[in-house]
Symmetry: C2
Subunit: 542 residues, 2 copies
């Protein structure tokens, strides 16, 4: 059904190319007749039927799968769903494959457009962004050379200039689209490693490698994303190079503790490669004190990388943007438009304040950016990215920004912020639920309080799986850092006058509200589902 039979896939009426003189008209390609068999049609963007038919089949499959699912996630165990996937892959063949597998992907999805799907920084994408991404798939530009992506090369350059301005960066900024915060964090820390260590050791790290004579350090809060440690491992510095700076109860880095850690490292002769400040931790949206982090990094000669993969979305909102004051002081920034930006993944952005700090990534490849082509005016983005082939993820962001404007996107951010506050209020109002802290952005932590506090972690973890299995809700789950008040007797306080609950355990549930079309009633219903699942779990119902 979705894939047109060969005889429908072959028509490229020559008349439709008549906008150029006959001798410049290229022969029909893409949907050409010579070799077309089922499914072999190329995604020709000239007027033709193959792509349109296939897309129609996908839209039908998506709708059918969603209807069959009904709720936010299929009411299946992982094993039962896996068996369906295995069967479909074993049976689907030829023209039916696209429709059948699409329906299954839709049925077996955790659907972020459903208000009860609120676990992760996993946003419901805008229709306009998804459609723009289709244009990118069909044209398949690759940003490693101009002659694979003429317009896309310029479009990415201009979009990055605009996003740099949004972050308060000056005209010297540069950047690139990435697969997400994890890759952006690697990039920031790699540039930091190369710049700081070359200054300290006099050796170019990209050429000579790490010398091992020094023990470089990276400073990040105990609540920073695990990708910071992962980046240190990838870069050859080792996870142990990351110093976990203590946080307050809201999981913000304690600047006094950062200062102590930096001084201690200096005393030991361990060069401070970077301070990583988080603007919007994954779990609570906590924003480290950016101006203080910037001042301390500058004082100690460290690179400041701000991981604003989540919190960067606040830059779109007049209400929340002040929370990110100081981000413009960073040497580099991670922003993810597939989090608080309503883009399909991937839509990561990496920015540096000064283009020249990109130096250690510059590369010359004879087949991609020969010097004489650059002299002749052909720009190259090869030295901007760790990747070579690179999809034009900038396009969907540019289209979205132009369609909604910053104001329109800001309204979506504010709507989600409102939903988070409403959700936190519903938690506070419920006798069996405990709020960890008020939402900063659009997420908050809480937990169900079982009658036996020793069972808190177990019950919360299990009730989440119960909701998943029943197909009722996708709720997040995490654990508090050891020093962040998980055990309330050890909490450093600052909880806004809340009573210590006396409960033990570090497991917390999480709601991440990213669906601006959800209503307060939706969120209240979701909170109610959690409480009901906790009671059922505690009662030992199966």
């Amino acid at each position: 059904m979705p894939v047109p039979p060969p005889d429908e896939a072959v028509s490229v009426p020559p008349g439709e190319l008549a906008s150029r003189p006959p001798d410049e008209v290229v022969p029909p390609s893409g949907d050409g007749p010579a070799t077309a068999r089922a499914g072999e049609a190329l995604a020709s963007v000239r007027p033709g039927k193959a792509l349109a038919e296939a897309v129609r089949g996908v839209l039908g499959g998506l709708a059918a799968g969603a209807v069959r699912r009904g709720g936010p996630v299929p009411a299946e165990t992982p094993g039962a769903l896996a068996a369906q996937v295995a069967r479909a892959l074993a049976e689907a063949r030829g023209e039916e494959a696209l429709g059948r597998l699409t329906e299954l992907l839709a049925y077996g999805a955790a659907d972020p457009t459903d208000p009860a799907c609120a676990a992760h920084l996993h946003c419901p994408p805008l229709a306009v962004a998804v459609a723009a991404d289709l244009a990118v798939s069909a044209l398949n530009p690759s940003l490693d050379s101009w002659d694979q992506a003429p317009a896309a090369t310029e479009l990415e350059t201009l979009l990055l200039r605009e996003l740099a301005g949004l972050a308060g960066y000056p005209g010297t900024a540069a950047g690139v689209l990435t697969s997400g915060g994890t890759e952006s964090n690697v990039m920031g820390l790699m540039l930091a490693r190369d710049r700081v260590l070359e200054r300290v050791t006099g050796e170019p790290v990209q050429l000579r490698g790490l010398s091992g004579r020094v023990r470089p350090r990276i400073f990040a809060s105990a609540a920073a994303h695990f990708s910071v440690r992962r980046a240190a491992a990838l870069l050859g510095l080792g996870e142990d190079a990351v110093v976990a700076v203590p946080v307050d109860r809201e999981l913000r880095m304690d600047p006094a503790a950062l200062e102590r850690a930096l001084r201690e490292a200096a005393r030991r002769g361990e060069p401070p490669v970077a301070v990583v400040a988080t603007a919007g931790t994954t779990d609570t949206g906590a924003i480290d004190p950016l101006p203080e982090c910037a001042a301390l990094a500058a004082e100690h000669g460290a690179w400041l990388h701000v991981d604003a993969a989540y919190g960067g979305g606040a830059l779109l909102s007049d209400r929340l943007a002040p929370l990110l004051a100081g981000v413009e002081l960073a040497d580099s920034i991670s922003l993810d438009w597939h989090k608080l930006g309503w883009q399909p993944a991937a839509a990561g952005v990496f920015l540096v304040r000064r283009e020249e700090t990109y130096a250690s990534l510059a590369r010359r490849a004879a087949y991609l950016n020969p010097a004489d082509d650059e002299e002749a005016g052909y720009p190259s983005l090869l030295g901007r990215s760790l990747r070579t082939t690179r999809r034009a993820d900038a396009f969907k962001i540019a289209v979205t920004l132009r369609t909604l404007g910053r104001d329109g996107l800001g309204r979506l951010v504010d709507a989600c912020h409102d939903l988070a506050r409403a959700g936190a209020a519903a938690v506070r109002a419920h006798p069996r639920l405990e709020l960890h802290a008020e939402p900063v952005l659009t997420a908050f932590l809480f937990r169900y309080l079982p009658r036996d506090p020793r069972r808190a972690d177990e019950v919360n973890a299990a009730l989440r799986r119960r909701l998943l299995r029943a197909g009722l809700a996708v709720v997040g789950r995490t654990e508090l850092p050891e020093d962040a008040g998980g055990d309330h007797d050890r909490a450093p306080g600052g909880g806004g006058g809340r009573e210590p609950s006396g409960g033990r355990g570090r497991v917390r549930l999480k709601l991440t509200l990213l669906n601006p079309h959800a209503t307060v009633a939706d969120v209240e219903r979701l909170v109610g589902l959690v409480a009901a699942a906790g009671e059922a779990e505690e009662a030992g119902l199966s």
Copy 2:
């Protein structure tokens, strides 16, 4: 035009959700009425109009842009095209943005479905793959946790098992989808670094970092992809850690030279982290002698990584698969389905022969893969990837494989191989063109021979830009490695009985034939365009 007015975007007929009992029906979301303004519709996959309308707008914009372009690339200088992009970004607003920017992206594309677009490993994607990618954009699954991608998690797992089998790997294999060969090469070399150096130094590199006490080495041919050196730099080993092993005229690694290089390193006490064998160099498709590389790597305790980003496509063809004999001996492999696999980027695949060699990437994140969820049967792919958020790029590959089968894809590979041989024959038949070597896969190098051989490099580089500027053709350009016969007096021979031309210079033009629907006449016409552009360039025409 492309984005529907708000009043069209709001209808989610409640009846269409009636397949579940009323109390489980979730409130209308996605296209919900409450907050809908222009462009704010989510890509709800439930029956609704917003996504379908936006997609229709994109298909229209794609067609209009392609008609305006007419040829393989717009007949524009980079500056003139950039000005159009800047103007469109400055002017496009609201509902017209999607259509206008899509048309511009299509107009300003290098269109791989046009037979005269044949520079890079930049394939024309299949309609079925592009449509499948739309399903992924709309559902937005992210593979860093099961509860963001229930069906997609299993689908990727099964697809990778199948691809591992295609490569001849045993059931112990594992892998992950990547952004491309560059990321896959980083992964292979990171696992190699961690495994080999831990054996040598007794220290876990991921935790402790590189010690600097040893000087690790990576062995790759002089024609290996530049991403190998880049990976060494990223990993903290430094580009200088890569030993460039000499190649023969066809740019295949010389196994005797590899053996000498490995012995020399051993003599100096430099641990051999990895041998990187290339199966399909970017420029000529050269395939290193895989069995010999495997034997030497094993003898010296080095990891064998095979970069088959391009040549992996040969596994689909009965005719060409024998060229990759020995790939199954590799510890890890890079395969790119966005090269010889007709997928839109990204569709990279990284495979390891033994799952346990993945160990150094394993991670536990409390919010993504808590131990008790894994014990309860929820699988996690987090430890498979360097990324966190990760788009379900496996889906389009799975759909394509099911639609066409290996046989169907193999026919496309063979068609491109035939085209390359026809193109090489056309070059050989032309008095002013010189073939570098017969095509191995679907690409070959050649050049125009100007009357003054000292101008060869300059004329070839310029004629390529001339074709680009005129919008007539997108032809590749590269430079031969210094020791690979660029200067024919120094060539090591092996050129299949060809006369040395006496010409000097290393610049070569390249045709990469990836459009299976192109005809021999298309390729002959393209070769003719190159020769004509060379004559025009030589005559100093502007």
